[in-house]
């Protein structure tokens, strides 16, 4: 439902009535084929929201070229006709589809739903009103979002980095961090936006790729690159790409002369006032909750934090203050893409927990007509040539391709479509297949990677086997890359069509493989992440086996007292353990480890071994790895020899027990990044800055006379944690910055501990006498992570943490189907992020476990027993271990021997076996030798 907003939410969890207001689009979605004729004729230009006002759009427009739904809309505020009845109306005249409807009206919908998820996102801080650093006055001061559009191939300059003022190439660009973040004077956004440091580095690196020789400098207070592999990226940006990082306070951006150059003045770490000159200044704008989201929060009647984000608990990070209403993404605090995706899945898990009794009540499976048996028919090929608007037709002479296609053998029908993928064309193709009795189809359009599933559905809807179709990619492989040579592109399109037709001629009807799923989950690890994931799945109704290495549930959380937001960890962990123990769907295996694994998605068989050496085999359809991490045991800072030097975990215990030494001590020094962010472990442990700040606050609150120092490299109290940093400074905690090359020195001096650190302001070493030194130690991966990884064929990264399938879009999936990851096993993170990730892993596992069968593509290796002589060459090359060699008994006069069998569930249809086999004993369905040689012959037959 697009152009729609929620206006009212009545009812309660499980049964809400929601009112939705749908604004008029003025374009009939059923009729619009997105040909673009309307926008071409539209005389009214306004700033494009999508391009962050760097470019223009028309009053009738699509948000962006790849928009879903790809349907035009009219901006009623800009449209001449809608503003002045009777005027203009060009779009209506040129629209052949008759889709324009100036009389469209607002519609109200009332919907009955069990739960609501609020995912309205954020807005980038707009520096216009505050006129930050001359934004809005000097044209070459732009926002980071605008730079993003300039760098984009689909942006206003097609990826060329030029100055807005005069179109000159940019040679020197400065990024100013924390614009609209960590700033209560200009914008009242005291929090840190969490993502800007990282995106600034990314933009600087990419900008350098776009404009070789470009000089980039990032002016910052603290570089907060706390995410997975972020510090490595920063290091590469510094060392390989030459991005310059300047820790300072900027105090002015002024024009230098009238040519558009900018003069930047700042105070560096030594307190010196400096000036530099730039072509362009980019403001790294923060994230904030837009006004319409505040209204939505009011409509939904949910509580907000002081920073205007949705209030949630650290142990229920996607649950709002109103039962049955959940959040995900930036509405509950600024966060990056992976964390937003994690929360999307987490919200799904939370909803599924609430609504599991009503699962499948309102969903329907698509039904298809009975499949026609075409095995006895002669080939009757239908070819559909797509214009893709002007994407193909603008370069390739599609009419010539059409005429040529009709001359190919067995081709009985050819047609051209403006967009072969549009809804109406799909229906038309179904009709043509039926009336022309087509039994082989060629779609000459774009890439099968994105569109093959769609056209397969089309064939199914026409009662034709979905594998009797071949795509000829005359766009990505042709019109897009040969824009300068239309003639050759047309010839190549003909070649591609001829090859596709030749291949499909020998295509067979194939049946997708269906594998039953064991609707049970195995969770490895009984910490907060493992318990949360296990509990959620059990409450969704699935049987869960939870394996814990030790004899106690709780993991690392047993060492923690409070979350950053102040929630009492032991109480919450105890509650979680209780729920887990009382749930009869959960079987807990303590003092056990996984020692063997067989099987594949939907059908794993894991062997677990207990302390007593006894083994059990657990069958499960999905698995979640939540094995946690360990605290680093330091060797530096004389930790081993000075009793007053302790780790943060030890200090928490001593502080809680009101141990005499801590009680009496007056001077405390926290040292950050112990074992983090240095050679060999170039990653941020993410939680230590906040933890030390919290401890420092507690010490100061207990006794304001105490001297508390925090020696840090970058204070990474990200997102709303920034409030703690501010509170600590207010309470008089002293923060001293040090660099990696100038680490503090800790020595024993009688009863006191001397801590020596370089003072950047005074330019000399500073000596602090301390009673206690607290080392903020790193979080390390489990030593046996890689071993467990091998069992499930899931990888660990360079640091030893488990590696997810995709850093942004599949943050809890492994590349091995059916396996998921959560918690510290994946990367250091605070409790609420572990909980969110655990819920996400549960949601992802539930998408599998809720089904009785998993359907796999029919493109799989198959054995031709007439030719296979059991040489086993294919067994060695198969990357998925899907082929095994078995004994073949004597039969029909043939002697006994060996033959291969293929596990279809493990086979990915890559074809390595087929390419390796010297005897044609194995082939991949849908890519038989006959099909491929026909295709090659067609390629050569010119």
């Amino acid at each position: 439902m697009t152009l729609s907003e929620v206006t009212k939410i009545d009812g309660k969890a499980g049964n809400f009535t929601v009112n939705v207001k749908e604004s008029p689009r003025y374009v009939d979605m059923e009729k619009c084929i997105a040909c673009g004729a309307c926008t071409e004729k539209c005389p009214k230009k306004v700033d494009s929201e999508y391009d962050a006002a760097t470019g223009k759009r028309k009053a009738i427009y699509v948000k962006y070229a790849q928009a879903v739904p790809l349907k035009y809309q009219i901006d009623p505020d800009a449209c001449i006709r809608l503003q002045k009845p009777g005027a203009c109306g060009f779009c209506e005249k040129v629209c052949d589809a008759g889709a324009i409807n100036f009389n469209d009206t607002e519609k109200m919908h009332q919907l009955n739903v069990g739960a609501v998820i609020l995912a309205p996102g954020f807005e980038a801080y707009d520096p216009t009103d505050a006129g930050v650093w001359g934004y809005g006055v000097y044209p070459n001061v732009i926002t980071s979002l605008q730079l993003e559009r300039y760098l984009s191939a689909s942006g206003p300059t097609e990826g060329h980095l030029i100055r807005p003022s005069d179109g000159k190439p940019v040679n020197k660009v400065a990024f100013l961090q924390c614009v609209g973040s960590r700033d209560e004077n200009l914008c009242n956004n005291g929090y840190c936006s969490s993502v800007c440091c990282m995106y600034a580095i990314k933009e600087a690196v990419i900008a350098k790729d776009h404009a070789p020789g470009l000089q980039t400098s990032i002016f910052y207070m603290d570089m907060r690159t706390h995410g997975k592999e972020f510090d490595l990226y920063m290091q590469r940006a510094k060392e390989d790409s030459g991005v310059r990082f300047v820790r300072c306070r900027v105090n002015g951006v002024e024009p230098d002369g009238s040519g558009g150059d900018l003069r930047l003045s700042y105070v560096n770490e030594e307190g010196r006032q400096l000036e530099e000159f730039y072509d362009m200044v980019v403001l790294s704008v923060g994230l904030q909750t837009p006004k319409h989201v505040l209204e939505l929060a009011h409509t939904a009647d949910i509580k907000l934090t002081a920073d205007n984000f949705a209030a949630t608990s650290d142990f229920a990070p996607v649950q709002t203050s109103r039962e049955g209403i959940f959040t995900c993404g930036a509405i509950a605090g600024p966060k990056d893409i992976p964390q937003s995706v994690v929360e999307g899945s987490a919200a799904a898990a939370a909803v599924a927990d609430l609504l599991s009794p009503a699962r499948f009540e309102l969903t329907t499976e698509p039904t298809f007509p009975k499949e026609r048996d075409v095995s006895g028919e002669e080939p009757r090929i239908g070819i559909f040539v797509c214009h893709c608007g002007s994407n193909i037709a603008g370069i390739v002479d599609v009419k010539a391709v059409d005429e040529y296609a009709a001359t190919l053998p067995d081709v009985v029908y050819v047609e051209r479509n403006l967009f072969s993928c549009s809804q109406d064309t799909q229906e038309m193709i179904v009709k043509r297949i039926q009336e022309q009795k087509l039994n082989r189809i060629v779609i000459a359009a774009c890439t099968p990677r994105t569109h093959e599933p769609l056209f397969r559905e089309t064939l199914k809807a026409a009662g034709l086997n979905e594998y009797l179709m071949e795509m000829a990619n005359i766009r990505n492989h042709n019109s897009w890359v040969h824009t300068d040579n239309p003639k050759a592109a047309t010839a190549k399109a003909k070649d591609l069509v001829r090859m596709a037709a030749a291949k499909v001629t020998y295509g067979d009807s194939l049946k997708p493989i269906s594998v039953p799923i064991t609707q049970k989950a195995l969770v490895i690890g009984g910490g907060v992440a493992g318990m949360t994931a296990g509990l959620n799945l059990a409450e969704q109704g699935f049987e869960v086996h939870l394996v814990e290495q030790t004899d106690i549930l709780g993991g690392n959380a047993l060492n923690l007292k409070h979350t950053w937001a102040g929630e009492h960890v032991p109480t919450q962990v105890a509650k979680l353990v209780d729920k887990l123990v009382c749930n009869d769907k959960i079987i807990i295996h303590k003092e056990s480890t996984v020692t063997g694994v067989e099987g594949f998605v939907g059908n794993f068989r894991s062997t677990i071994t207990g302390k007593d050496g006894l083994t059990k085999v657990i069958e499960h359809g999905a698995g979640i790895v939540a094995t946690g991490g360990d605290a680093y045991t330091p060797t530096e800072y004389n930790y081993n020899s000075i009793t007053g030097v302790v780790t943060s975990v030890q200090f928490d215990k001593l502080f809680e027990l009101k141990e005499a030494h801590v009680r009496r001590a007056r001077r405390f020094v926290f040292i950050q990044c112990v074992g983090s962010r240095e050679e060999g472990s170039m990653y941020c442990s993410k939680v230590c800055c906040t933890h030390s700040v919290q401890s420092a606050i507690a010490l100061k609150k207990e006794n304001p006379e105490r001297n508390v120092y925090i020696l840090y490299r970058d204070m990474r109290t990200y997102a709303q944690r920034e409030a703690l940093y501010k509170q600590a400074r207010k309470l008089g905690v002293i923060f001293i910055n040090y660099e990696l090359h100038g680490k503090p020195k800790v020595t024993e001096n009688g009863l006191v501990i001397d801590v020596e650190v370089w003072d950047h302001v005074l330019h000399r070493p500073l000596k602090i006498e301390a009673d206690m030194v607290i080392l903020a130690v790193a979080i390390r991966p489990k030593a046996d992570a890689a071993e467990l990884g091998k069992l499930y064929k899931v990888p660990v990264d360079g640091q030893g943490f488990f590696q997810e399938a995709h850093a942004k879009l599949r943050p809890v999936d492994f590349s091995t189907d059916g396996m998921f990851v959560a918690g510290l096993a994946h990367y250091p993170k605070p409790i609420e992020e572990s909980v969110a990730q655990a819920l996400a892993a549960a949601a992802r596992a539930a998408t599998l476990l809720s089904k009785s069968h998993v359907y796999l593509d029919a493109v799989k290796a198959a054995v031709d027993e007439r030719y296979c002589d059991g040489c086993a060459l294919c067994v060695d090359v198969c990357p998925y271990h899907a082929i095994t060699l078995v004994d073949k008994p004597a039969k029909d006069g043939q002697a006994a021997g060996k033959v291969i069998v293929v596990n279809k569930a493990q086979c990915k249809g890559c074809g390595l076996c087929q390419g390796t086999c010297p005897k044609r004993g194995v082939y991949v369905s849908g890519f038989t030798m006959k099909q491929i040689s026909a295709q090659i012959q067609a390629a050569l037959a010119v």
């Binding site: 929620v6 049964n15 790849q66 919907l111 996102g121 809720s850």
Partner: protein, 60 residues
């Protein structure tokens, strides 16, 4: 709670990357989803980005 008949559908307000992920996971596990988007097309802020760390994948 027991007196409330639970409805097997969910409304998701916002069609950005997080809303879409929630919608897909719920639809894939047996719930009917209404995805409500304020603008004319889904995609949200991520669709505006050029490339993303660490793979430099196009955000589309």
């Amino acid at each position: 709670m027991l007196d409330t008949k639970k409805i097997g559908s969910v409304m998701i307000v916002g069609g950005g990357v997080t809303g879409m992920q929630a919608a897909l996971d719920l639809a894939d596990s047996g719930y009917y989803v209404y995805l409500v988007e304020k603008t004319g097309a889904i995609g949200g802020a991520m669709a505006q980005l050029d490339k993303t760390f660490p793979t430099n994948d196009c955000s589309m």
